[in-house]
């Protein structure tokens, strides 16, 4: 019975992937002849969502650091760098004359200025209260789809994504999984950012039925900065540690020497793995990218 269901959802999943691949491979909107809106995007998460919907932004803020933080999907060549996200080059934007500017609350201080250039839409994923990041991301994806004349693409993309998530959950449910701890060492070798409640990653874990080892408090961006020694508080249970890149170069050798780090049970058992960059403050594309990396890793290790 259960294998049958899995097979079914596998097929469903494959179908979803195909559908996804089909519209991802489709030429971007402007090539389709319709007057696609020229959109300037000030938020990586919104930019990945637009790319997933098949719309290439004319310009993206902080485009030069895209590979370091987002990696996948790739930014199309020819996308104009708008300057730093907290201070996009307004003069440049004015010369570009976009039809629409997409922002997030993080850069909202510039909103009055931006509104003098083009209509502004704000995509809110992280807020002090209200729905979780993934729920908000889904709603915002539909809204972006409607704004860009891509309602169908948005629906198809979300359907495919959730089918894939459900399939991954089914595959993982058969495995004896430990809890996972998600950290990044953007700071130094003594401190980590650990992701928990209110984070996009947490939503993905919930969808996949994987337990988060960190149940402590987090800020509204869904992470907490902790001294390394506090990671030991998660040591008792079986925990798989996942470290996200980017990691500062000087950190690796330091970590390799630290007795506290080396004696952490998951490090001693080598129950830890480095993941390539996954935008932590992203939207649905980052969620599914993290889900795929995690599922692949857990399946490889625990089946």
């Amino acid at each position: 019975m259960s294998t049958e269901r899995t097979a079914l959802s596998r097929r469903h999943f494959a179908g979803g992937l195909l559908a996804g691949a089909a519209f991802l491979a489709a030429p971007p909107a402007k090539a389709a002849g319709g007057a696609a809106p020229r959109v300037a995007v000030l938020d990586y998460g919104a930019a990945t969502t637009m790319l997933a919907l098949g719309v290439e932004p004319v310009g993206v803020a902080s485009a030069d650091a895209w590979d370091r933080w987002v990696k996948t999907p790739e930014l199309p060549p020819g996308t104009i760098d708008l300057g730093q996200d907290l201070a996009v080059n307004l003069e440049l934007l004015a010369f570009l004359e976009p039809d629409l500017i997409v922002i997030s609350p993080y850069v909202a201080a510039a909103r009055p200025a931006l509104e003098r250039i083009a209509p502004v839409e704000m995509v809110t994923i992280y807020a002090p209260d209200g729905p979780s990041p993934l729920e908000r991301a889904v709603a915002e994806t539909r809204r972006l789809g409607a704004l860009l004349g891509r309602t169908g693409a948005a629906d198809a993309y979300l359907d495919a994504t959730f089918a894939e998530l459900a399939d991954m959950r089914a595959r993982l449910s058969r495995l004896p999984l430990p809890a996972v701890a998600l950290v990044s060492f953007m700071l130094d070798a003594r401190h980590a950012r650990i992701y928990g409640r209110h984070s996009l990653y947490q939503d993905v874990l919930d969808r996949l039925g994987v337990e988060n080892a960190w149940t402590g408090a987090t800020n509204f961006w869904g992470f907490q900065t902790i001294g390394l020694e506090r990671m030991a508080s998660m040591a008792d249970a079986a925990v798989e540690l996942i470290v996200f890149e980017p990691i500062a170069d000087e950190m690796r050798p330091t970590l390799e020497k630290s007795p506290l780090w080396l004696s952490l049970p998951f490090v001693r058992r080598e129950d830890f793995v480095m993941f390539p960059p996954v935008l932590m403050f992203g939207m649905v594309p980052s969620a599914i990218r993290f889900a795929r990396l995690l599922t692949e890793h857990l399946e490889a290790r625990f089946s």
Binding site: A65, R68, I80, D81, L82, G83, Q84, L86, A87, N89, L90, E91, L92, A94, F95, L96, Y106, A108, A109, A110, P112, A113, R116, M122, A127, P128, M186, L187, D188, A189, R190, H191, A217, N219, W221, F223, Q224, T225, I226, G227, L228, E229, A232, S233, A235, D236, P246, A248, D249, E250, P253, T254, K257, S258, P259, L260, W261, S263, P265, F281
Partner: protein, 655 residues
Amino acid sequence: MMAETRDKTPAIALTLFAAAAAAAWLLLREDLPHLLEPAAGYGADRMVLLYSQLPRLVVSLLCGAALALSGAILQRALRNPLASPTTLGLSAGASLALVLAGLVAPGLLVAGREMVALAGSAATAGVVFAIGARRNFDPVALVLGGLIVSLYCGALATLLILLNDRYLVSLFIWGSGSLAQQDWSTAVTLGPQLAVLCLGVALIARPLGLLELGEAGTRSLGLSPSAVRVLAVSIAVALAAAVASAVGVIGFIGLAAPTVARLAGARRVGPQLVWSALIGAAMLWLTDTSVQLLAADMGAFIPTGAVTALLGTPLLLLVLPRLKLSFAGGMAVLSARRWRGPTMPAVAVALGGLALLALAALFIGRTPAGAWQVNGLEDWDVLADWRLPRVGAALAAGAMLAAAGAILQRLTGNEMASPEVLGISAGAMIGMAAILFLITDPAYPVLMTGAAVGTALVLGALFILTRRSGFLPERLVLAGIALGAMLDAFIGALAATGDPRSLVLLRWMSGTTYGTGTASALVSLVLAGGLVGLTVALARWLDLLPLGASGARGLGLSVPRARGVLLVLAGLMTAAATIIVGPLSFVGLMAPQIARAAGFVRGGPQILVGAAAGGGLMLTADWLGRTLLYPYEMPAGIVSALVGTPLLLALMRRT
């Protein structure tokens, strides 16, 4: 003064230690029994106790003692109650060295993070003392030089962090001094270093005491006073650098502990050094343990260094009225060539140059693809919307800062005073920060209101704090410094938690004309015209005040009232400028100097030409910031600091 003062230092030190021990007991009471357990097995709590808690305790004691000792030596050797590792810029230098190494040669950090930091603080010490040496280590010159170098390092580090935002945020943790430990390596490295240095301290203590007796005392030992000073200061620098490289910037302990020891009655050198060290150790231990207790409750990460700085400011303000400042009055006024030609044509030339500069800043720019171009009038719509307001705002801000700086420098009789030092710009920033935390999505007008309220509060506080002393210049400067340090600590702590809003704050701190609209640019220009004009009208007061209170009174000027009015004027101009270009700019420091170096010595011409120079500096800085790294921008406040500070240091050395 010489009356019997009971020495209360042992009681104070004992109380501090008792409090620290009690806090530590609260923190560790559940874990301590693990020490008795056999070493087999993992035991998370036991590992944490052994490799994190206990080393942290030892490191906090070591660092507290070392910083206090360093401060005590510096204060003694330089006869300067304000000297400390923080006020002389040693910590900021180390911080900048680490940021640079992280960007340019990360390999250096792997090889020796400590050595990089050490080189940084040594270099800053070199610069600060090179300035000080020209002035016989005059206390005020030294501390102000230290603060300027400190601000300069901070500005550079801020710029680097801004341009590499997310990655280098890490350095805030170091910059805010975290005592978190993962093993004994810090304690094991630091311990022997400090032991050697303490030996040096023991040797230097006696000659240091003889310094008090004047030249003859030290010469009787066969030592020149300056040799004793140099030796003592080197030891203090090494102590501070050792701590900075080990745990980062822990502000204020090096200033507070020796001050407490002295006020409590430790007068002779030996007891003063010993008690300072003990009080410093207890202070840092207590702070760090309290931070951990608090952090456990709040589930938050708080860097201890930021907390020491936050606690330190109120205490410093409290102690301020009791401090006997032995400043030898104002410093010598810069020798300047007297302007021999007629003044009015020269002022006109300065204003004409300013107009040309403004035109260049308006019409020379880059294309969206990045090529340089001179924009024609067909681009006027975009230029009028996006460049003109920035040029205007930069000009207004620079002019107001310059006039405010001229007032302050004349008022304090100290050419190193500047609006930044007054702490009013810090107040504006605190107001803006408060708004950022109350409203998720603040608009510019709301932010401006916050800044204005913050400015008014600080100005009011300064008034009340200093009214009784008749606006004594040095008190003002000290209160301002304390406030600025508190702001730094607050932003440092916030940034270390990784709160993304800290980057917004950082950007405001850095001073950018970014986002200035036509209306606010016009308001700034009108304000600048009015306030600078008013200052010129009151220029006679500025010429009379440096004559001293009695001299000025003799010429029919009510000194307290004149000082009060001028202070309000300087405060208003600083506030209006800070809202535009942030609190870090050095224009208020540089522009009046430039005017004076060019020969405009009397009040009126100095303010006019200074304002023109300030406006020119700021709009040049703004233009460079907009175009050099296009489409990325560098904040005008920081660019002006980077360009102007070396100029200023050169100026200081020349005189």
